[in-house]
C-alpha cells in the first residue's frame, strides 16, 4: 500500500488530510469504473487495502452496478419506434446510427443507446436522467470463482 501513496503523491494519513482523502477516493473511483463486473475478487482485494471508512464506501459502490444479465435483458426499442431524439449520454441522434440499438429502462421509460447505458449501468444502478433506481429487486449476482485474478493483477499491478 505504501507504494500506492508514493505513486500518487498522497498521504496515507487520510483523516488528517481531507484533500488527500478526496484524491484517493477519486483515484479509486476511476479505477473502479475501469473494472468490469467480472472482477469482484479484485475489487474486494483492493477494498481490503483501503482505510475502513473508504472500505464502506467502496463496498457500497461495488454493489451499485447492475448485473450483465440485467443489462442484457433491457427491452430494445423496435426500429420503427426509435424517437427522433438524442441519446443523453453520447448526445448523438438515435436515428443517425445506421444500425441503432436503443433500449428503454423499465421503470422510467428513458431511452439510451445500448452501448452507452451498459457502461453506465455496469457501475451504477440509477437512470442518468431521472436518477430512479433501474432495478429495485434484482440483486447483483456474481460468482467470485469466475474472476481471473492473476491475469487482472497484471493489468493493474
Amino acid at each position: 500500500m505504501s507504494s500506492y501513496h508514493e505513486e500518487h503523491n498522497t498521504s496515507p494519513h487520510t483523516q488528517s488530510n481531507p484533500q488527500g482523502r478526496r484524491e484517493i477516493r477519486s483515484e479509486f473511483r476511476n479505477l473502479y469504473e475501469q473494472l468490469t463486473p467480472t472482477d469482484p475478487t479484485l475489487i474486494s482485494l483492493l477494498a481490503s487495502l483501503l482505510p475502513p471508512e473508504l472500505q464502506e464506501e467502496w463496498g457500497k459502490k461495488s454493489n451499485e452496478g447492475c448485473s450483465q444479465a440485467f443489462i442484457d435483458s433491457l427491452p430494445r426499442v423496435p426500429k420503427d419506434k426509435i424517437p427522433n431524439d438524442l441519446c443523453s449520454i453520447c448526445f448523438e441522434n438515435f436515428r443517425e446510427d445506421e444500425y441503432p440499438l436503443v433500449i428503454e429502462l423499465p421503470h422510467c421509460s428513458h431511452k439510451f443507446d445500448l452501448q452507452c447505458i451498459s457502461v453506465w449501468l455496469s457501475s451504477n444502478s440509477t437512470c442518468p436522467v431521472c436518477r430512479d433506481k433501474v432495478n429495485h429487486n434484482a440483486k447483483l449476482d456474481i460468482d467470485t470463482t469466475e474472476a481471473e485474478l492473476e491475469e487482472d493483477w497484471g493489468m493493474y499491478g
Binding site: Q19, S26, N30, E33, Q34, I89, C90, F91, E92, V129
Partner: protein, 151 residues
C-alpha cells in the same frame, strides 16, 4: 466518447450565458482541457468579480465526472479549498450523471457561489460564519479576500 466532447465544443461556440463569459478548450487540438471565465452572481459577495475555472475531461467522460477547480485564484468560498481551488459539489462527486455537460457543471458552480453549503466545507472559517449565521462577517471576509488578492 470523443464525438460527445466535440459536440460540446461546437455547442460552446454559440454559448450565450449571463454568467459564463468564456468557455474554451486551452488548445483546439486537445479538447480534454478547458478554461472558463465566470462572473460572480449578482447579490452575492462575488458580484463584480470574475473567476477562472480549469476543467479537465477524463478519458471515461461522460461516464465519469470532469475535474474542475478554480485556477489560479485564491477563492474564498465555504466549498472551495482556498489554496488549491478544489471544489466540493455533489454533481462533481457522487451525484454525477452522464447527462450533465460542461456547461451544466459551470452553471452549477455559479449557482454554488450563491448557494454555499456549510455542511460540506473545504474552507472551515467561511463555513463556520454561515453556521453561526453571521452573514455580515461572511460577506465582509469574502470581500476582503477578493480585494486583497486582486491587488
Amino acid at each position: 466518447m470523443e464525438s460527445r466532447i466535440l459536440k460540446e465544443y461546437k455547442d460552446s461556440r454559440s454559448l450565450q450565458s449571463q454568467y459564463i463569459l468564456a468557455l474554451d478548450p486551452i488548445s483546439t487540438d486537445d479538447l480534454t482541457h478547458w478554461e472558463c471565465t465566470i462572473k460572480g452572481p449578482l447579490h452575492s459577495p462575488f458580484a463584480n468579480h470574475t473567476f477562472k475555472l480549469r476543467i479537465d475531461i477524463p478519458q471515461t467522460y461522460p461516464l465519469t465526472t470532469p475535474i474542475c477547480k478554480f485556477e489560479p485564484f485564491a477563492m474564498p468560498h465555504p466549498n472551495v479549498n482556498f489554496e488549491t481551488g478544489e471544489i466540493c459539489l455533489d454533481i462533481l462527486d457522487t451525484n454525477w450523471s452522464p447527462v450533465f455537460n460542461i456547461q451544466y457543471i459551470v452553471e452549477a458552480i455559479v449557482w454554488l457561489l450563491n448557494e454555499p453549503n456549510f455542511k460540506s466545507p473545504l474552507n472551515l472559517d467561511l463555513a463556520n460564519l454561515l453556521r453561526f449565521d453571521d452573514l455580515k462577517a461572511y460577506h465582509d471576509l469574502i470581500s476582503y479576500h477578493l480585494n486583497n488578492s486582486a491587488k
